[in-house]
């Protein structure tokens, strides 16, 4: 039955992922005469220039992951142990940066953290300095910080999901035996949350490994080149598809390895979550009186602020109009322009449309694949699962290129049609659906499926009447992610769009390219609004990210 379920998704993926991907990557695996050869890859791995790039990529990813985990642990603790009003709101807000197109992230970051950014200007006026005190950007520091800020909510979500379910009794028992503080954490709590921690770390590692815009802009130059940036240069700009594909292949292999690790860890973590029940949690508000409560609150505010600040800056900047003599006035000018029709409104409508279609496609695709993966028992099933999540490890630039290359010979027009964009978005988004769905499927206690089975539910009906309804919250989460990812997708869209099919991120990109930063911020704010709404709905519907 599992096999039958796989047919349609496999066909789709073959046509719209593996085929275009192959047409590009084949360049990295063939020599000049077109025969299969590992020559390019081996010469790549022997070239100190590329080795340095790969080394730096891995190194910054490791550091970023460590930083994310360190930053995320306190947050996970808070979320696990306490309830507070606005928790859902904050969770929704802090997930938005994850799906935003890189250009907006970077815009906001520069505007807030830059040498002339809001933070520095504030500090300068506060402390009466003439030079900006915080020189964060254009360095490795910036890359690590940006990575940590945008990925630590992932750590918080994944770890708190498990931590929440750990019964305080183990800690209480340890306390009665004399353990407390760090020792308690190290010996009792940490081993229990370890599966979730490691799985979050694996995921964050992959994201940092493949990070692109942050490195490109905030790094400050060729010294801080990572795999993705180099692939971008090779593939998009110099059209050196041979080296570009070879490099992309190396990146894909590394991410596959970590995807595999992630899946295995997620399996363990979900199993641990399965075993335990939800526990009542005290309200944070009640803690405000104590010093601890204040510290917690400060942490929350600080984190929320730092993540949200760049976004808020972008939104704030959009309410302006550069009028005469370079003065800025508060104005809704751009929003009026957007709403009054024309290409801006079309971009908004298009983005919405594509996002909805992507959601409709990637949800069943991801769910079915997640189900097959979670229920498959054969050895090597985890490897197959990792392969199914492959698009996470493939640059969307390569995907876009693949679409261009693979389909140009076909008689019917695929590139330039709206479904090309939808398919590309779907391919990019469905692994995230798999991620949440498979975690949830794994958490379903086996006694439930056995009970249903004994009551006469065969494999299909098990799926339909039991497992699917139980995974409902995860599916909503997955849908919201798919929506958000589609709305914010830029790289593939840039390759596949035309005037009719323009999307918000592309429009933002164009506005920036013609000095229209306010306009870019305005469109970016609209995008953020959509993403935020989508994520708010998840948390409302009780979704979780696992």
């Amino acid at each position: 039955m599992l096999f039958v379920l796989l047919l349609a998704p496999a066909a789709f993926l073959l046509l719209f992922f593996y085929f275009p991907l192959g047409s590009v990557l084949v360049g990295g695996l063939t020599d000049r005469s077109g025969r299969f050869s590992l020559g390019i890859i081996t010469s790549l791995l022997g070239d100190p220039y590329y080795l340095r790039i790969i080394g730096f990529t891995v190194w910054q990813a490791i550091l970023s992951t460590l930083l994310s985990v360190l930053m995320g642990l306190p947050g996970a603790y808070l979320l696990a142990r306490y309830d507070f009003r606005g928790k859902r709101l904050i969770q929704a807000l802090t997930t938005v940066p994850f799906v935003l197109p890189s250009i907006i992230v970077v815009l906001g970051f520069v505007r807030f953290f830059g040498n002339n950014g809001i933070l520095n200007r504030f500090l300068m006026s506060l402390l009466g300095l003439s030079e900006p005190p915080l020189r964060i950007l254009y360095s490795l520091r910036a890359i690590l910080l940006a990575h940590a800020f945008y990925n630590f909510p992932v750590v918080v979500r994944i770890v708190s999901s498990l931590w929440r379910r750990i019964h305080p009794s183990t800690e209480e028992a340890a306390r009665s035996l004399g353990a407390h503080g760090l020792r308690l954490f190290w010996r009792v709590t940490l081993p229990q949350i370890l599966p979730a921690l490691l799985s979050a770390a694996a995921l964050v590692f992959i994201f940092c490994l493949l990070s692109f815009a942050i490195v490109l802009v905030l790094g400050g130059g060729p010294r801080y080149t990572t795999l993705e940036v180099e692939v971008y240069r090779l593939a998009k700009v110099s059209l050196d598809l041979k080296t570009g594909s070879a490099l992309a292949l190396v990146g894909a292999v590394i991410s596959l390895l970590f995807l595999y690790a992630y899946i295995k860890l997620q399996q363990r973590s979900s199993f641990a979550e399965r075993m335990t029940e939800e526990v009542e949690r005290p309200r944070l508000g009640s803690m405000l009186g104590s010093l601890r409560g204040v510290v917690y609150l400060l942490y929350l505010l600080f984190m929320a602020l730092v993540i949200l600040a760049p976004m808020i800056t972008v939104v704030a900047y959009s309410f302006q109009l550069r009028s005469g003599w370079g003065q800025q006035a508060i104005s809704l000018e751009w929003y009026r322009r957007i709403l009054s029709g024309g290409p801006y409104l079309r971009a908004v409508a298009n983005s919405l449309f594509f996002a909805c279609m992507t959601m409709l496609l990637s949800l069943p695709l991801g769910t079915v694949l997640a189900y097959v993966g979670a229920r498959s028992r054969f050895a090597g099933g985890r490897v197959v699962e990792a392969v199914m999540m492959l698009p996470i490890g493939i640059s969307s630039i390569i995907l876009g290129l693949g679409y261009l290359k693979a389909y140009q010979q076909l008689p019917w027009r695929i590139v330039g049609s709206w479904y090309a964009i939808v398919f590309a978005h779907t391919v990019i988004a469905y692994p995230f659906v798999i991620r949440v769905a498979s975690a949830t499927f794994r958490k379903i206690k086996s006694s439930l499926t056995e009970a249903a089975s004994s009551l006469g539910a065969g494999p299909w009906r098990l799926f339909w009447y039991l497992e699917l309804p139980l995974a409902r919250s995860a599916l909503i989460t997955g849908a919201a992610f798919a929506f958000g990812i589609s709305v914010g997708e830029i790289n593939a869209s840039l390759m596949l769009y035309n005037e009719r099919l323009i999307t918000i991120p592309v429009m933002v990109y164009r506005l920036i390219g013609s000095y229209n930063f306010i306009g870019a911020c305005a469109m970016g704010s609209v995008l953020m609004l959509f993403c935020f709404l989508a994520f708010l709905i998840i948390d409302r519907a009780g979704g979780e990210v696992g």
Partner: protein, 348 residues
């Protein structure tokens, strides 16, 4: 069967989604679609096609003149235009590619994607602007790379390339990566034109003054206007934009003692173009006053046609005395070597 509250919510959500989808689809469908077969297809870079760029003003003129459907496709930046053409080499879907500049010419010719056509209108164009003797590429506008600075922050700007390396400009300059940006490449070639093979030493001296090296002009300029650094590599025409639309003269372009580097943009007809006749007519058209007069205020470059006047704001777009240019053949031979050496130097 199970009517939980969150189930009702998800129904609402589904309904909302369906509604949004319908609305969006309707909007998409309602906007006029040029699905009818275009009789001329042009690949151009983004800012050319944008609604504030040249295309919306120029294309209708051509349409009216010849009564044809023209489709202008924006493909990214100029480099990507060429790349797209190369990608579609065997089965070209476009007739004209737009944005090949004098620095990219060698590559375009190497890849052999263009066919030659010498328009008779070229007679009116100054000799030194015709940068392709094979006429595969026909020039339509030009500009000079220059450092643009913020006069409100910088009181004593540099007057030469060499002065750029002065320690007082430490971390105050933004430039672009030559691999991904045409001004970036232009600047690199500029330094080579001035310093020859010693350009690497120059860059060594320059490096401490660089705040960052961005991948594209838009990022760099955005940082500049955000105040991250008071100097950015751009064009001599950039200040004119601010004068024209923001009524401010604070941004000024710098002319250097050694001269500024010249960029000439052109377009060419693709080999195997589906509509070669119409394409040739378009090439003729771009050299006419109708086309050229729109260039300054939409593309922010100088028109190649000397009979076309530039607007008043272009007072702030100074033309340098010495205009530098490296010969296409030399670029073709050494480009990769120069860039690789530069990358090595700058990555340290």
């Amino acid at each position: 069967m199970y009517k939980t509250r969150s189930n009702q919510l998800s129904r609402l959500l589904a309904a909302a989604v369906a509604l949004a989808a319908l609305f969006a689809a309707a909007t998409v469908a309602a906007t006029p679609v040029a699905e009818t077969e275009a009789q001329l297809v042009i690949y151009a870079y983004d800012s050319f096609v944008a609604e504030w760029g040249p295309a919306p003003r120029i294309i209708p003129k051509f349409k009216d003149k010849y009564g044809v459907e023209v489709q202008v496709v924006s493909v990214g930046d100029a480099g990507q235009v060429l790349n797209r053409a190369i990608l579609e080499k065997d089965n070209p879907k476009a007739d004209i590619i737009l944005g090949i500049d004098n620095n990219m010419l060698s590559r375009a010719l190497e890849e052999d994607v263009l066919q030659s056509y010498r328009s008779s209108n070229l007679d009116a164009i100054p000799e030194q602007l015709i940068f392709d003797s094979t006429h595969a590429v026909t020039p339509f506008d030009y500009g000079y790379f220059a450092f643009v600075y913020d006069s409100e922050i910088l009181e004593n700007p540099p007057k030469s390339l060499e002065e750029l390396t002065d320690p007082r400009f430490r971390k105050r300059i933004i430039v672009q990566d030559p691999r991904t940006s045409s001004p970036g490449l232009g600047f690199l070639l500029w330094t080579i034109a001035v310093y020859g093979e010693q350009y690497l030493e120059y860059w060594k001296r320059l490096q401490p003054n660089l705040l960052t090296i961005t991948d594209g002009w838009d990022t760099a300029y955005g940082m500049f206007t955000s105040g991250e650094a008071p100097m950015v590599l751009s064009y001599t025409t950039s200040p004119a934009y601010h004068v024209e639309y923001e009524q401010t003269e604070r941004y000024r372009a710098l002319l250097f003692k050694e001269g500024n580097y010249l960029q000439i943009e052109g377009m060419g007809i693709l080999k195997g173009a589906p509509h070669p006749e119409m394409a040739r007519k378009f090439i003729d058209f771009i050299l006419t006053e109708e086309f050229q007069s729109e260039i300054p205020l939409t593309n922010w470059m100088y028109p190649v046609n000397p009979d076309v006047a530039t607007p008043d704001s272009f007072r702030f777009a100074p033309k340098p005395e010495g205009s530098l240019q490296l010969p296409a053949e030399e670029i073709r031979k050494n480009r990769d070597r120069w860039i690789n050496a530069w990358v090595k130097q700058v990555s340290r």
